[in-house]
Point group: C2
Chain length 364, copies 2
């Protein structure tokens, strides 16, 4: 067994203050709501109760769980669906116990996660600290793995894009959507290496017949990253940082050396990764309509998305640029959402920038 290294770490903002992930995860919540029905359906159809029959305890892991309430709802949905499946097979008397492992980076706010666990939960809860690009669980010890809005985080920024001497140097940008082909290729290669590692590790941890329900933002097949709504969302952080550099508030070098470790796979890339790995069958792959529309129309979307960025990336950004710039940055970001993102959204078709649900089964 490998000892645990500390990879570069990108964590959601902890605590339950006004800028915390706990209070600003509406977009992720939306994905879970939409995914709920699909997950229930999949478990009803695909869960192989026979394979789990000898286990008195069904073990579920939520990878990249952050803090509640989204992870708690996802877990409840899975448990309810497993119970129903046992019921529909005439096995109500044999419904197992459930043990749920909440996983996220060691810097995640597990204290908050634990103090907000639902009081009426019908499972044994545990927290597991560590990157899902490392082994987290004993061999063949998990029955259902869930991950939502997390798999787009890479294990690291691809090396080349911060190297001035590389053709893949990502000057003046913090992401790849509007960069040259070399940068896109470097990110794609990192995304493929990471997914290969992810699948290889999970193949060891998941029991034969076990299910993985993976939910993530994606890049539609055949769409250039620059035309993908989810990328624009990230890219506008870069534009806002460059505006700060032009105003002299931060140096341009500082922006050059900052890159977000995020890669959005296409469904085709995901399928290819699963095939290369060879240990899982694809039981379901579909896009879910979950594009953010704002709570109160487009007027509030800029605030909603800025809050989302703050909750999800503030720590990453302030670690690099310091804390002083964050309010100014988010003002610019909100302006860019209003002036660029919302018009783009209005003219783009509905299929772009949605969420991808992939259900894998560990082969026997």
């Amino acid at each position: 067994m490998e000892s645990i290294r500390s990879p570069e770490v990108y964590t959601m903002k902890g605590g339950d203050g006004p800028h915390s992930y706990a209070k600003n995860s509406t977009l992720q919540r939306h994905v879970i709501e939409v995914a709920k029905e699909a997950m229930k359906e999949t478990i009803a159809e695909k869960l192989d109760v026979g394979a789990f029959n000898s286990s008195k305890t069904i073990k579920i892991a939520d990878l990249g769980c952050s803090v509640g309430p989204n992870t708690f709802e996802a877990v409840e949905t899975i448990i309810e669906a497993v119970r129903s499946k046992y019921g529909s097979q005439g096995l109500s008397s044999q419904i197992p116990q459930f043990q749920v492992f909440f996983n996220d980076h060691v810097s995640n706010d597990f204290n908050l996660l634990f103090t907000t666990l639902p009081r009426d939960k019908q499972y044994y809860a545990a927290g597991v600290p560590g990157s899902f690009y490392e082994r987290l669980f004993p061999e063949a010890s998990l029955h259902v793995v869930h991950s939502s809005s997390s798999l787009h985080w890479l294990s690291r920024v691809p090396e080349e894009v911060t190297n001035k001497n590389s053709p893949a140097w990502n000057k003046g940008r913090i992401h790849y959507a509007n960069s040259g082909d070399e940068v896109i290729r470097a990110y794609k290669a990192q995304g493929e290496r990471d997914m290969e590692k992810f699948l290889q590790l999970r193949a060891q941890e998941v029991v034969n017949g076990g299910l993985m329900l993976l939910n993530s933002t994606f890049n539609p097949n055949g769409t250039h990253p620059s035309q993908c709504v989810s990328h624009l969302f990230v890219d506008l952080i870069g534009s806002s940082l460059m505006e700060l550099a032009r105003k002299g508030r931060i140096s341009e070098e500082k922006v050059d050396s900052f890159n977000l470790p995020i890669y959005l796979m296409t469904p085709q890339e995901m399928e290819a990764a699963v095939e290369r790995n060879g240990c899982f069958s694809i039981e379901r792959i579909e896009t879910l309509a979950s594009r953010p529309r704002g709570n109160g129309g487009n007027e509030s979307l800029d605030h909603q998305m800025a809050a989302h960025i703050r909750a999800g990336m503030e720590d990453t950004i302030t670690q690099h640029f310091g804390e002083d710039i964050i309010d100014e940055l988010l003002d610019l970001y909100r302006k860019n959402i209003r002036e660029i993102f919302i018009p783009f959204l209005a003219k783009s078709d509905g299929a772009k920038g949605e969420s991808l649900l992939v259900v894998l089964k560990r082969k026997y």
Copy 2:
């Protein structure tokens, strides 16, 4: 399965500041050092490798773990001993994986626990929040349970001792060692109820043949609590609080309504509890010499013990009395340690106030 209730909670001081448990757990550490050899020996003699043979993963729980480093050392000791046992049986090629569950109250500082996990650890780590007077784990899911310096914490203060109309009302004291027989009986009854519950829950969670290594402060057989060094240690907090009341810094009623939920069992009471429960055999029961002597002679013992109280009980005390009194209280406590505790220690015999190690095996 019961849903998780929130019992009264008493947690060690979190963080890693100068008053934290992480920096002031010398006394507990001493217990672990002394217990180490005994635990190794017991595992070598008593661990039934055959019973675990079908398990690819040995699951270990440390109940009431607080934060490191003590819990990490205890866990390492157990894992080393299990490996040696496999080796000595010619089963080196079948050495299993280890999964360790670190348990403590939900208010424990799990964030600190996780960020200080040993980098070279050879086990899969998980945190489990909750009181060990509730179910924490699935049925028959643990192979080795460890608990050190925790089992003297009761699930609650016995009701009668805070009731003005009860003959067990504990006026002017915060503990039972120098109180009347009614108070002592109320504490003893609570201690027995709690131990009954503890053993009943663990009997469900531990696999047949599994071991429990329980380490705790105790009251020697046949010694009145008032003559037991460990009680005096606690009782002097009460005396110090009463001095504050006499000075008018806190009200006497405030002291009357405060009681520490701590009960020190005698070895006989422990044996009787295990027998009543019926699910475990006593494999070993012995007292370990681990009386605090101070790091630099008796001069430093007062500071060491005040730091120990601060780390272990500051939260409990300030929740009741507010934060303003804590420094003054600890000054008085140090004085009482010098004037009462150290002279008492000098004339008491060595057998009193040591640590009790009990090793139980889950019957087949």
